[in-house]
């Protein structure tokens, strides 16, 4: 059984700026996690999240597609789970840009293995980080 996740977001920005935030390693670190990403097809890299009691925080990835400035796709591998994340940028005009996130290949295996708790802990951590950032201004 395989499921997918589709999410849509809108930002007040330009296609160029959004593309830069998606493909610049330093910027990716600010909104996803520390990484050694390069916008080069075939490049293998890692996202290194804060480890939790249940998870080392590491996502192994490979760049699958780079179509500047519209589409970026990479694999997303955690344990047995091998997903694909695809980000698509669209210009809406009037200084607005649309970002579509698609994550495919989600199976139920990891959830059954109890990884659910790891994700809960992780989500909690993220909220704290966000709150801290807010506090820091």
């Amino acid at each position: 059984m395989s499921l997918s996740l589709n999410m849509d977001f809108q930002f007040e920005s330009t296609v160029e700026r959004l593309w830069s935030a998606l493909t610049d390693s330093r910027k990716l670190a600010k909104w996803i996690a520390d990484n050694d990403f390069k916008p080069v097809v075939g490049h293998r890299f890692q996202f290194r999240h804060q480890p939790t009691e249940f998870w080392d925080g590491i996502v192994n990835s490979e760049v699958l597609a780079v179509e500047e400035p519209r589409l970026l796709s990479f694999s997303w591998e955690v344990g047995e789970e091998k997903h694909t994340v695809t980000l698509t940028v669209d210009d809406l005009g009037n200084g607005k840009v649309h970002l579509r996130l698609e994550q495919t290949g989600l199976s139920n295996k990891a959830a059954l293995a109890g990884a659910e708790y790891g994700w809960k802990a992780w989500a909690g951590k993220l909220e704290r980080v966000l709150a801290e950032q807010d506090a820091a201004g």
Partner: protein, 89 residues
């Protein structure tokens, strides 16, 4: 199949099979796969086997998707902030 079982406590094979064009063997095979996936439990009552749905794993799958949904929502908030900061520069 899951829909049929969802509304009932449990059902015997012949009642389930009545809803499908495939024969009992086919339905039985299908149930076997669902059982292996942990979605269906069976029990013997006299000479017949009754099947019932165990929806818990399905719920966990939904949770798994929900976790990613939360994860990306939180990330996108940070991305939004990052783009705003750049705007101010």
């Amino acid at each position: 199949m899951i829909q049929l079982l969802a509304g009932k406590e449990d059902l015997p094979l012949h009642e389930l099979a009545a809803h499908f064009r495939m024969g009992r063997t086919g339905v039985s095979k299908h149930l076997g796969i669902l059982k292996e996936a942990g979605l269906v439990k069976d029990r013997k009552v006299g000479r017949e086997t009754r099947y019932r749905l165990d929806a818990a794993p399905l719920k966990e799958v939904r949770d798994w998707v929900a976790h990613y949904s939360d994860y990306w929502s939180a990330n996108m908030m940070r991305l939004g902030e990052l783009l705003e900061e750049e705007d101010e520069e």
